[in-house]
């Protein structure tokens, strides 16, 4: 199984595809240099890139609160979390690059709006409690989505997800703890926590994507073992997990239809406003423009750092090629100079 056979004709492709399907069905992992169908490769690039973009755009709504964190403890935690999101983006970009795309190309597609990121990050973080609601609900939904991806058929993506899931668990717990502190605080703090949960609950449910019968990529992704569970299945799992957690927080979820369905053994919940979802996806969410502008500005304003690092590396490489020795410094002996060269 390889992409290396340049003259692989149709007959070979059929054989390769059969081998590929057998490997996927046998729960073997596909690795970068293995032969894979073009559509599988394209689908993975789309999904991993969108995932990577979500991680780095996701830094913005929370970074918004770093300077206003209520204590040094909370500030240190929030900085660590935002740094983790940057790290997650980098793991995922690396995984995408193993499929033959480049980092610059991916960033370019994000900046030009040709690739998407998760719609959830187009909502604003209005109060400090939003940091808690994002950790509990948004990261909670992400974990529910991502844990099955640790068994994804594409090796590099699965490995990146293992690392990410380990780290996400801290994100979720810090959010929950933050909300609990507010919920048990003053009346105003409790109200602030409740308001944040009210605003983040529905968008979090939308994170699982459109209902199964409207999901464009689901069936093929499941056949390829990229996805393991349907959107609706994961959404239900998330709701079931959250209801008792909200109870323990002393907060309510903003859904009058939320009831225990004895027969199904699951919580029933009200209809999701998919018009809102589509609007935000189309670019008309409260913060779409702000997020992408901020990303572009950060990239442009950071250009000098990348250029300086490049220039330094080029200079060092030139010097070592020409056996360059630094001019004699009277403060230093020759031995030290040798050490530097």
């Amino acid at each position: 199984m390889t992409t290396m056979a340049p003259d692989a004709g149709t007959q070979d492709d059929v054989a390769y595809e059969a081998q590929f399907n057998a490997a996927v069905t046998a729960e073997e992992r596909i690795e970068p240099r293995d032969w894979m169908p073009d559509a599988y490769r394209a689908s993975l690039v789309r999904q991993i890139a969108q995932h990577a973009h979500s991680e780095i755009i996701g830094m913005q709504p929370e970074a918004n609160w770093i300077t206003r964190a209520p204590s040094l403890r909370r500030k240190a935690i929030l900085m660590a979390k935002v740094q983790d999101e940057a790290g997650h983006g980098l793991y995922l970009y690396s995984a995408a690059e193993t499929l033959g795309t480049s980092r610059d190309e991916l960033l370019d597609r994000l900046h030009s709006g040709r690739q998407k990121y998760s719609s959830i990050f187009n909502y604003p973080t209005l109060t400090w409690a939003d940091v808690g609601a994002i950790g509990w609900l948004v990261d909670g939904a992400a974990i529910t989505n991502q844990v099955p991806l640790c068994r994804c058929s594409y090796g590099p993506y699965a490995r990146a997800m293992v690392r990410i899931c380990k780290e996400e668990s801290f994100h979720q717990r810090q959010g929950y703890e933050l909300l609990l502190a507010l919920s048990q605080g003053t009346e105003a703090q409790h109200a602030m926590a409740q308001d944040a949960v009210n605003r983040w609950w529905w968008p979090s449910l939308m994170m699982f994507g459109p209902p199964d019968d409207e999901s464009a990529h689901s069936a093929q992704s499941m056949a390829w073992r990229i996805k393991r569970h349907s959107n609706d299945e994961l959404r239900q799992r998330f709701v079931d997990i959250c209801v008792p957690q909200a109870d323990s927080l002393g907060l309510t979820l903003p859904d009058p239809d939320l009831t225990w369905d004895e027969e199904r053994g699951h919580y029933a919940f009200g209809p999701i406003d998919w018009d809102e979802f589509r609007e935000v996806l189309r670019g008309n969410g409260p913060c779409n423009e702000q997020r992408i502008n901020q990303r572009r500005t950060a990239h442009e304003e950071g250009a000098w750092v990348r250029e300086a690092a490049t220039a330094y590396a080029t200079k060092q490489a030139e010097r070592s090629r020409h056996g360059y020795r630094a001019p004699h410094d009277p403060q230093q002996g020759d031995t030290q100079e040798e050490d530097i060269a």
Binding site: M1, A5, R163, E167, E307, A309
Partner: protein
């Protein structure tokens, strides 16, 4: 070299003394020093390592997945290389 040409580096992390370095992932950096620093920030944020190696990805020579069966096949028909191949009478100890 433009930013777009920053080479790819493979990162290996030794999690503690007594264990070998294990592949952790990859990253882009203009030179080895920056690659090492980035590797520390990216792969050891939670004390996952006490030592890091970075290797330019282009310097790695790998066996071809095309030959994966034939290349490793010679080992497959030599079960006598494993201790379980041998039958030892019951009751014989320390063997």
């Amino acid at each position: 070299m433009s930013t777009a040409d920053w080479p790819l580096w493979e990162v290996f992390v030794r999690s503690r003394r007594g264990l070998s370095h294990t592949h952790a992932g990859s990253l882009h950096a203009p030179d080895a020093t920056m690659a090492l620093r980035n590797a520390r920030d990216l792969y050891t944020r939670r004390s996952e390592g006490i030592s890091v190696w970075v290797v330019p990805s282009a310097e790695i020579t790998a066996s071809s997945p095309d030959e994966k069966d034939s290349y490793f096949e010679p080992a497959a028909d030599k079960p006598y290389r494993h201790p379980t191949f041998y039958e030892i009478p019951e009751g014989v100890r320390h063997l």
